[in-house]
Amino acid sequence: MTDVRDQVAVRLAAEARARTVEDAARWTVCGAIGGVVLAVIASSAGGGGAARAIVVALSVATAAGVGLIRARRRWTPAAVAEALERRQSADNLVVTAEALSRVPTHSWQPAVASAAWSRLEGLAPPSHRGTWLRLGVAAMVAIVAAVVPWPVPAFEAVKSPASARPAAGAPSDHPITALSARVVPPAYLGGVPYDTAEATTLEIVGGSQVTLLAHTNDATVRISRDGTETTDVATAGGVASIELPSPAGGTWLIAPGSADDARGGRLLVIRVVDDAPPVVRVVTPGRDRRLARPLADLRVTIDARDDHALTDVRLRLTTVSGSGENLTFADREVRARIDRTAAGVWTAEAVLPLATLGLDDGDLVVYRGVAADARPGAPAVESDAFLVEVGPLRAASDAGGGGEDVDPEQRQAISQQMVIVKTERLHARTDLTPDARLAEAQGLAVEQRMVRAEFVFLMGGEVEDEEEEAAQAHDLVEGRLANQGQAALLGATRAMSRAEARLVAGDTVTALVAEREALRLLQQAFDRRRFLLRPVAERARIDPARRLEGTTPPGPSRPLPVTTAEREAGWDAVERAALALARAGGDSGLDLVAPAARVAVLESGDGRATAAAAALVRADNVAARAAALIEAQRVVHAAAARRLAVPMNGADDRPLSGAVADAVRRRRP
């Protein structure tokens, strides 16, 4: 009898274990399903493949553990006996036998156990038990296997439609799932970094540092700029951190390193907007003034604006004493009271102390507003200069006791003598570092170029290219400009060119020699006449009566070669874009990111090419793809047309007989 009792206990224990395993399997399957859901959520938040695997594993393990504990607590022998009785009634013998088993001395125990065992032997195990278990385990394994090794491809179809399109060839198994950029503006603008995510275009200030974060399960990420510079960057933890070189402007293509082409990649167009220099202008009085006597101060209002922030606004003035080319210049600055409307909008008021400057008749005060922003090494920006001239006024103005406005067309500001004085002053200074001296000299070079430009304009034309001027020099020598005055003026401008070149190099000594030579030639050209240095009131005319008066040099002229023009630059980019679009049009499975990069390079400033490239990347169905390709084709055609000459309408018309026109013309008086 003892054996029968043991057999009943063993049978109930086995049943309890089976039910425990079954419950635990159910819990595990539920945990796996929940883990998949959590992995999807983690992926949308930027999680990589490893993160998703950990989420799924934790979920499965937790569910399996909880299920096992709960099942072991639930399936006691008594609970198993009750469950068996519920499934198939045994006249309560199984429950009774299990209860009597806890009272081994009970007299009914052997009989009840024997009867219960006979019922248990006829009780078949549940038909679904093994199936349930196998299905559960298989589902769990399949789900875990699907989630852990591969990064949820179905989800990518939402994130990157172009990349998820069925493609021919060998696409990457690990597309770029997310792309974000961290931009660090230059330090002088505060350097506060900001992040952008999933952008296709990015506008940054010049000098900014850009770091891209590309999320992918690929081992490397390949980046290319404008389709030419290609670099591979290794990923770490599913993220590739790419620090772009500065300036980072251009079209960047970020693609998985294992892809044969750009499939699964992202396109980012970065446009660099340089920090513009401030704009400064003198609002009041805003005109030149002529005063009989400098008795009162002059209130000057300066308006300055900058696209980011201003750092300084001042009033700078130069007093000019003397006459002719024997002038004395003195510079000084006046502090201004500043009203800051915004960081980039300042209004300054300053007082020009005319009464204390010791001005005499004929002296001048040249003043201008000066504004600076925080750009390192950038020179301050000056406004247009205005004059205060001390001297006799017209009768009516003098009777009024004040001054009179000067016609803006009669202004004068810079002269060759002033350039010489400034160069001498710079040459004499010993408190400057070499860099500062070079910067000052280069500033003087700009002024020298301005003076030269005035004289070139005075001669009747401008010189766009010194090399071209030199190539044409024999024309001038051979008679065109053979009168002494013109030749001297030409020599003066060339001396100014030499002076400018030496000033750019910081050589003030040689520059002074050239400047003085230029001044000597100017005095020779204009004899004793005093010349205005900015004679915009009356433009000089070439005197036709003095043409062709030069001496003809002996010998024949040198033959000149016939020149041929070259094709417009940038044509290769058009060709590449057209070929890329042709390939994309012929293969409906081809990824459009690479053609988009080719198209984006054609951007001309109106944003059309960038928009077309973005449309290519976004295209996620056949209709959108066709529309994007057509728009991209139009962009390419427009880019090509910009680089070609456009014939005038009717250029191909065959010649009409002019007989009728001639007859009409002969009839007219």
């Binding site: 023009a565 042709a582 055609h637 026109a661 009409v664």
Partner: protein, 565 residues
């Protein structure tokens, strides 16, 4: 009876050996000649022809595409043209032509494309003709070169039967002779056709003659030198006996002027009367003369001007002359019918605003610019340069070349066009030799070689790879390259070409729905064709064997019946 049957059989056998002949007269069926005039194969036209053929048989025979060496439809009784207005028929008809008009095609069709040769550095342009479809329908016209899309426009169909001369800009993907594919729409079935395109037109030879140095001359010359479509030779008279020249030996001679497609003259106020007369003669002979004035023109330049001066402006501030040119000092001319104003002064008195004028003179043209100081007001976008480049290219292309031979791939009859300025001016053709070689270097075929009888001659069809044509007269030598054929007509039919054809030939217009009745009525109205005498040989028909065998069989049966065999 038995003997009679036997005799009949013998008689038939004897007749078969003798083969007798008899004369008789027969009225032949009328011949209806039909030509189809549709740009594309038309099922509607085929249906009309089949209906006619079935309804008119045996009274008439319908013959399609009657081809003769002389006038077409010459040997038929009734001449029909079945067309929908998208194509016409060439050559003079031999008799009245009755036109069976079909409804225009329901879908838009591409029926012609003309692609003039251009230089590789400029935007090309195809002239496309489209028919069919409905008014207001937007048609995408696309140009492709070797699979690469090179041009696209969206054209809205007008309510006219044919939209011709639609300008399709396209850019040269490759240099040389190309076979441009033009198609409508992007979705299949795409309607496409090919047209030859020469993207490597030779640069135009331009001579810049500075009669005296001037900034106008300098900047105009620089603008032209920067244009790859032009090869600029220049001569600058810097002193009375001093000339600085590029590409010419010295002061331009008549041969230098004649060799250029266009002559640009600056500093013209220094010209003498003889020099102005030389330029006027050059223009009259077919050349192009462009005069860029930089001062008030003296009286001796009157022969070059489009007319007397109408207004003069001298100021410090410039005015706009169109969207590319500005000038503070200018002279303007009165508008004369026939002149083409290339730049005008908007604020000028009415009718006196023509500043840059193209005037036809003889076989050529003279362009005069009264923008005296436009060089001072050049903008940063190169408008001054582009204006002068376009003016000179336009004038040079419109001028008669000194000597040129071009291949025109007209549909069905490729031909060579030879132009000579000297021939046009004097009416005396020089002794020219023209050689055309088609195909590649290894399979070249001499198509034509010999003295040129006139300005045109036909070349055979067949070779499409490309032809090189050379015409030579003395030292002159001209070459061009062009494909032999195009699958698309280069010239579009006039919208009412078929109606005009019916009217001028004495024919009628027939509605397609009543074609059978109308054609039957026309045939009935035709005078009966005279009977044709023919000789009849009855024994040459196979049927004589039937009575022969029947006679023999019955004769044998009767003998068996009556016991004789």
């Amino acid at each position: 009876v038995t003997r009679a049957l036997r005799a009949a059989a013998w008689a038939i056998a004897l007749a078969a050996v003798i083969d007798p002949g008899f004369d008789r007269s027969v009225a032949p069926p009328a011949i209806v000649g039909v030509r189809v005039a549709t740009a594309r194969p038309s099922a509607a036209a085929d249906a009309v022809i089949q209906r006619l053929d079935e309804a008119l048989r045996p009274r008439a025979t319908v013959v399609r595409d009657v081809a003769t060496d002389g006038p077409w439809c010459a040997g038929v009784d009734l001449c029909l043209v079945v067309g929908d207005g998208t194509a016409t028929v060439s050559g003079p008809p031999g008799q009245p032509v009755h036109v069976v008009g079909l409804a225009p095609p329901a879908a838009a069709q591409l029926i012609a494309a003309d692609v003039p040769a251009r230089h590789q550095a400029e935007l090309h342009e195809a002239r496309v003709t489209v028919a069919g479809g409905r008014a207001g329908e937007v048609v995408e016209i696309v140009a492709e070169d070797d699979g690469v899309e090179v041009g696209r426009i969206a054209h809205t169909r007008t309510d006219r039967a044919i939209d011709e001369g639609i300008r399709l800009p396209w850019w040269p993907h490759r240099t040389g002779v190309r076979l441009l594919t033009v198609r409508l729409g992007d979705t299949p079935p795409a309607i496409s056709a090919t047209a030859p395109a020469d993207t490597a037109a030779a640069p135009l030879d331009v001579l810049v003659w500075e009669a005296r140095p001037s900034w106008t001359g300098t900047f105009v010359r620089r603008a032209l030198e920067a244009d790859p479509r032009l090869v600029v030779r220049a001569a600058s008279q810097v002193a009375p006996r001093r000339v600085v020249a590029r590409g010419v030996a010295g002061r331009p001679r008549d041969s230098d002027l004649n060799a250029a497609r266009a002559v640009v003259v600056t500093g013209a106020t220094a010209l003498d009367a003889a020099g102005a007369e030389r330029l006027a003669r050059l223009a009259s002979a077919g050349g192009a003369v462009v005069v860029a004035l930089d001062g008030r023109p003296p009286a001796m330049l009157q022969t070059l001007l489009p007319g007397p001066l109408a207004a003069e402006r001298r100021a410090l501030d410039p005015v706009a002359l169109g969207d590319r040119l500005r000038s503070a000092e200018l002279v303007s001319f009165s508008r004369i019918p026939g002149d083409v104003v290339l730049a005008s002064w908007a604020d000028a008195p009415r009718g006196d605003d023509a500043v840059v004028v193209e005037r036809r003179s003889g076989r050529g043209a003279i362009v005069v610019s009264g923008a005296l100081d436009a060089w001072r007001w050049r903008d940063d976008e190169g408008g001054f340069d582009r204006f002068w480049q376009d003016v000179v290219v336009r004038a040079a292309r419109a001028s008669l070349p000194p000597l040129a031979a071009t291949w025109e791939a007209a549909a069905g009859s490729p031909r060579v066009r030879v132009e000579s300025r000297e021939g046009a001016a004097t009416g005396q053709w020089p002794a020219l030799t023209v050689t055309a070689r088609c195909g590649d270097a290894t399979t070249a075929i001499d198509v034509v070689e010999g003295n040129l009888p006139g300005t045109w001659f036909a070349a055979p069809r067949g070779v499409v790879a490309g032809c090189t044509i050379a015409a030579a007269a003395g030292d002159a030598h001209v070459e061009t390259t062009w494909p032999g054929e195009a699958s698309l007509p280069l010239t579009a039919p006039a919208p009412d070409a078929l109606a005009t054809l019916a009217r001028v030939s004495g024919g009628t217009q027939i509605d397609a729905g009543a074609a059978v009745e109308a054609v039957a009525a026309l045939l009935a109205a035709q005078p009966p064709r005279p009977p044709v005498p023919i000789r009849w040989h009855p024994m040459r028909a196979r049927w004589w064997f039937v009575p022969f065998v029947a006679c023999l069989a019955v004769e044998w049966w009767r003998r068996r019946r009556f016991g004789r065999a």
